[in-house]
């Protein structure tokens, strides 16, 4: 299967403060790795006037100060960076283990996920916790990781009506994606488990446990283990 990588990035204008560079037309690790490389390159050698960069599945938004730079100057920085892509050193990705208590009150939709895919609940847990997932992007809420690629057997559509409140730590599935809600928020993903880890804590010296490009491995734990870890208030 082709990665869907464009030969040259598609540049899109986002008002007078943004520039969107699109590198492909698919959710694919090859496209995403290119996005991450460019993002790292830009952060290392930040063009004047760049305020921040937001990498996503297959594109990168550069937010800039229009009193300092322009869209066309930044496009040039992007194309010169593209020529030096091989030289960009990508820091090794770390693998973060996330303990999850699957099913029951911890994952109220696991039965639905199992039934829609003709699986047992145990099979859902096994299939979900087997792979090491790539973090494609972080968004929606503080530290929410969009993970892939989810095994085909587990693909399940979002809930028809989103929940008004999803508990912080909930692990969910939406089509070919899986992710974790780091803060309590509304949400429409099918919830299959809960982690006692605090994924986002602004008071910690490092508020986040991972970054885009890192990997996540889920480790099934029992309700007793969940309670023990939650009580310990593990950071």
């Amino acid at each position: 299967m082709s990665s869907g990588l464009y030969e040259t990035p598609k540049i899109r204008v986002v008002g007078d403060r943004g520039l969107l560079a699109e590198y492909g037309d698919k959710i694919d690790p090859v496209v995403n790795k290119k996005v991450i490389s460019i993002a790292i390159g830009l952060e290392h050698d930040a063009p004047t006037g760049m305020i921040e960069i937001i990498p996503s599945y297959r594109s990168l938004l550069i937010v800039y100060d229009p009193s300092v730079t322009t869209s066309s100057v930044l496009q040039e920085s992007l194309s010169s960076l593209e020529k030096r892509l091989q030289e960009i050193e990508i820091p090794p990705s770390q693998t973060v283990e996330i303990p999850v208590c699957y099913g029951g009150e911890f994952g109220p939709d696991i039965q639905f996920v199992a039934e829609s895919n003709n699986l047992t609940v145990d099979a859902v847990i096994r299939l979900h916790s087997e792979p090491e997932y790539h973090i494609f992007m972080i968004g929606f809420s503080p530290g929410f990781p969009y993970l892939g690629v989810l095994p085909k057997e587990l693909h399940t559509p979002r809930k028809k009506t989103p929940r008004t409140q999803v508990l912080a730590g909930s692990v969910g599935i939406a089509n070919e994606q899986t992710g974790i809600y780091p803060v309590t928020s509304p949400g429409g993903w099918q919830l299959i488990g809960l982690t006692p880890l605090k994924l986002f804590n602004p008071e910690r010296s490092n508020p986040f446990l991972y970054k885009v490009g890192d990997r996540i491995k889920f480790k099934p734990i029992s309700p007793e283990e969940y309670r023990r870890l939650a009580e310990k208030g593990i950071k």
Binding site: G18, L20, T70, S141, P142, Y146, V183
Partner: protein, 314 residues
């Protein structure tokens, strides 16, 4: 030491500065004052740097009791403010003493008022900013809108020698019919000619679903090209992105949203975001197409105006 005690918080009052930058890649939106012009001017009127933290007051104002002698200024929406039952004017500084009571009413013109105090509102910086991000429960005053009984502190500031006011010629005039200048894109290629012309030629009414995350509009439905999907692979947005969901009714995204999967037909230029901040449900919006070059020159004009205000007000 406390600067004021909140006797009544108003409908939605938060602490905001210019915003939190550099964390959108971690899912934390910029937040910050929606009307950056009014926020900056309120600060300048009390002698603060433009980016000090202020109160952003939405629709209904609070009732505050001051606890120390400081200068205060209001800017933005007009909310019929009184100090000890005597009217105080928007876009002017005034001196308060311990025990003085500031009362603000329902908004008369506009939507959001900004209150600055000498030294700025003092709350801890979280990830580099004092702005409140309510969904993430972070920044500002304990990550939430103000409540009755809260006591807010102010930083070290110097009292003014003479009160300051913004010359009336520079006070923005709010209208219930708003023209927002916008640049097509980033996904304008998903719309046929007809969809783009509907967008730029029609009038839209602001629905009651309008807050710091975004403003939902009501008007003629904007159609996408038949062969294009209504939702795209989620990508980042910025303040001013106009998203067209499946029902064809535009949503102007604001500073508390950063990722989405609907196509964005156009982006409101940075100079006009304060107009969105002062618009309320029922107001009518029209979008006017401008080029990137026009947007840049309007931005520079606004910068120049701000520099003049700094020179003349300070």
């Amino acid at each position: 030491m406390g600067a004021f005690l909140v006797q009544a918080p108003g409908s939605y009052t938060t602490v905001q500065d210019k915003g939190r930058f550099g964390y959108q890649k971690m899912g934390i939106p910029v937040s910050g004052v929606l009307d950056s012009f009014a926020g900056s001017v309120a600060n300048l009127l009390v002698g603060n740097p433009e980016d000090s933290a202020v109160l952003e007051i939405t629709v209904t104002g609070p009732r505050l009791t001051f606890l120390r002698k400081i200068d205060v200024a209001l800017a933005g929406a007009e909310m019929g403010a009184t100090l000890n039952n005597q009217p105080v004017h928007c876009w002017e500084s005034f001196r308060v003493s311990p025990g003085d009571i500031l009362k603000m009413q329902q908004v008369k013109i506009g939507c959001r008022a900004y209150l600055a105090v000498s030294g700025g509102i003092e709350v801890p910086k979280v990830l580099g900013s004092r702005s409140t991000y309510v969904v993430g429960k972070l920044g500002g005053y304990h990550g939430r809108p103000l409540k009755k009984g809260d006591i807010l502190r102010c930083g070290e500031g110097t009292l003014l020698d003479v009160p300051r006011r913004l010359p009336s010629a520079l006070i923005p005039r709010h209208s219930s019919e708003i023209v927002l200048r916008a640049i097509p894109g980033p996904q304008d290629d998903f719309f046929p000619e007809e969809g783009l012309s509907t967008f730029f030629k029609s009038e839209f009414t602001i629905s009651t679903n309008a807050n710091r995350m975004g403003y939902r509009l009501q008007g003629p439905s904007i159609r996408q090209k038949e062969n294009m999907p209504a939702s795209i692979i989620s990508d980042p947005s910025i303040s001013g992105s106009v998203q067209i969901p499946a029902d064809g009714q535009p949503i102007i995204l604001l500073g508390e949203q950063s990722m989405g999967g609907y196509t964005k037909i156009a982006t409101v230029i940075s100079t006009d975001i304060p107009k969105v901040a002062q618009a309320i449900p029922g107001n009518v919006i029209r979008f006017e197409e401008v080029t990137l070059e026009t947007a840049y020159s309007l931005h520079m004009k606004q910068k120049k105006l701000m520099r003049e205000i700094v020179r003349n007000v300070l």
